[in-house]
Amino acid sequence: MSLQSLDIIARSATTNPAPQIRHTEEVAKLIDISKCIGCKACQSACMEWNDVRDKIGTCDGVYDNPPDLSPESWTVMRFSEVELEPGKLEWLIRKDGCMHCADPGCLKACPSPGAIIQYSNGIVDFHEEHCIGCGYCIAGCPFNVPRISKKDNRAYKCTLCSDRVAVGMEPACIKSCPTGALVFGSKVDMIKHAEGRIADLNSRGYQNAGLYDPPGVGGTHVMYVLQHADQPELYHGLPNHPRISPLVSWWKGITKPLMSIGLGLVALTGFFHYVTVGPNEVTEHSKEEVEKED
């Protein structure tokens, strides 16, 4: 959603730098998976605050409901049953949604100026009124988050409640969490908070507990405390080393301006060829030969 009250640091498909002079504190949502009970109150709060309603689905035999992120469901609980030690079942429940990367692949891939915005507080937001429905953000995202609506052909995802955060409130999902698995604050504070949680988990036998703030995407503004931080894939395929695909970097990196300049140079070469070597005209010799052969 479009919001003027937060400071923009990056804008999709914009070659000129964004306004730079003011910087707000970076915020982060911390999701402590060890405390999540899978109640989906956050899913309801998200629908409620953002006024989006997914269609009533069917039960697929698992707890995931709706079964996937959608244009109307910006966060969903992912339930994974794992047995790392025989006889010790673990039910890992991950709240899935946009990670609000510091280096957002969606923003890099987007061809429409201002359809994707990054605020200086770290929130990555879609401005649907500028969205053209090309789906490049889906190709750019390392976490498979954006979804295009069949109703209006525009991409949607979690806004981190940019409208609430702008006026000093916490996101709707945080407000609804009954166990304190979701906390929100400055990124620095959230990292500190996570350290305490990790120490606690370590003392309970989770030696590999840790914080998920992947450096491959410059860190994220949605972070997880994982009991098994050495194996994030356990959590419904959370990528171990997420980064913007090199294919996307080749597609959207230096190659595009170089190819654009290349096209200009081809046209200019033609122009300068014409004004130096000159046109290739039918010679008198050719005309005479035609007359002679007649």
């Binding site: 429409s112 053209i132 429905g133 789906g135 052909n153 290349g262 096209l263 081809v266 290739n280 050719s286």
Partner: protein, 207 residues
């Protein structure tokens, strides 16, 4: 032989119409495609009614263009076989660019530059069609995996760069070699033009 002042028919009306159908749709494709290629070109999307319309129209025009191109390409297929003279012509590209045609081997209906561009068009436009379908939203892209779409969109933009550069050369060549444009607008060229630029073709039709 025939009257030397009488022009020679090079492209009949149906070929000319087919060529210009492909040319017009290609320009629309280049405009709507470049709009999404690099931010500096985004303003071109307004020529097609804005970003959403640009995204909607581009693939439909593309399919129409490809059908038109296929019709033209099949008619020209045999004339574009590369022969030894063409390879020699390419080796002497310096002579070509310096307008020293007298040093070049005799040319048939198409010269080597036209022939190679023809095969580049076949290759890139087919690649653009296949990769374009793969990234076509909302209809076909959902059937392909995200890694497949990443590869497709990369190849799509690179092929577009190659063919747009190629068409710039094609248009320039028509401006550079005087007397070429009437071949595609009115269908005819002068006998002297044919003799100078396409000697083998001139001899063949002269018989």
């Amino acid at each position: 032989m025939a009257n030397p002042s009488e022009p020679i028919l090079r492209y009949k009306a149906s070929i000319r119409a087919n060529h210009w159908f492909v040319a017009i749709t290609f320009i629309l494709m280049a405009i709507s495609g470049l709009a999404l290629f690099y931010p500096s070109f985004f303003f071109l999307s307004y020529l097609l009614g804005g970003g959403q319309s640009d995204r909607i129209l581009h693939p439909f025009i593309g399919v129409v263009m490809y059908i038109g191109f296929l019709s033209l390409a099949l008619r020209f297929w045999r004339r574009n076989y590369i022969n030894r003279n063409d390879q020699q012509w390419m080796k002497q590209i310096g002579d070509v660019l310096q307008n020293r045609e007298e040093n070049l081997p005799p040319v048939g209906f198409f010269n080597a530059g036209q022939k190679y561009l023809y095969w580049v068009m076949i290759l890139t436009l087919t690649t653009l069609l296949v990769t374009g379908v793969m990234i076509w939203r909302p209809y076909f892209a959902p059937y392909f995996s995200i890694p497949a779409i990443r590869i497709a969109v990369l190849i799509h933009s690179f092929s577009a760069f190659v063919i747009i550069a190629g068409i710039i050369v094609h248009i320039y060549a028509a401006i550079w070699v005087k007397g070429s444009i009437p071949a595609m607008t009115r269908g005819t060229v002068t006998r002297a033009w044919a003799r100078q630029h396409h000697l083998d073709w001139y001899r063949k039709i002269g018989k």
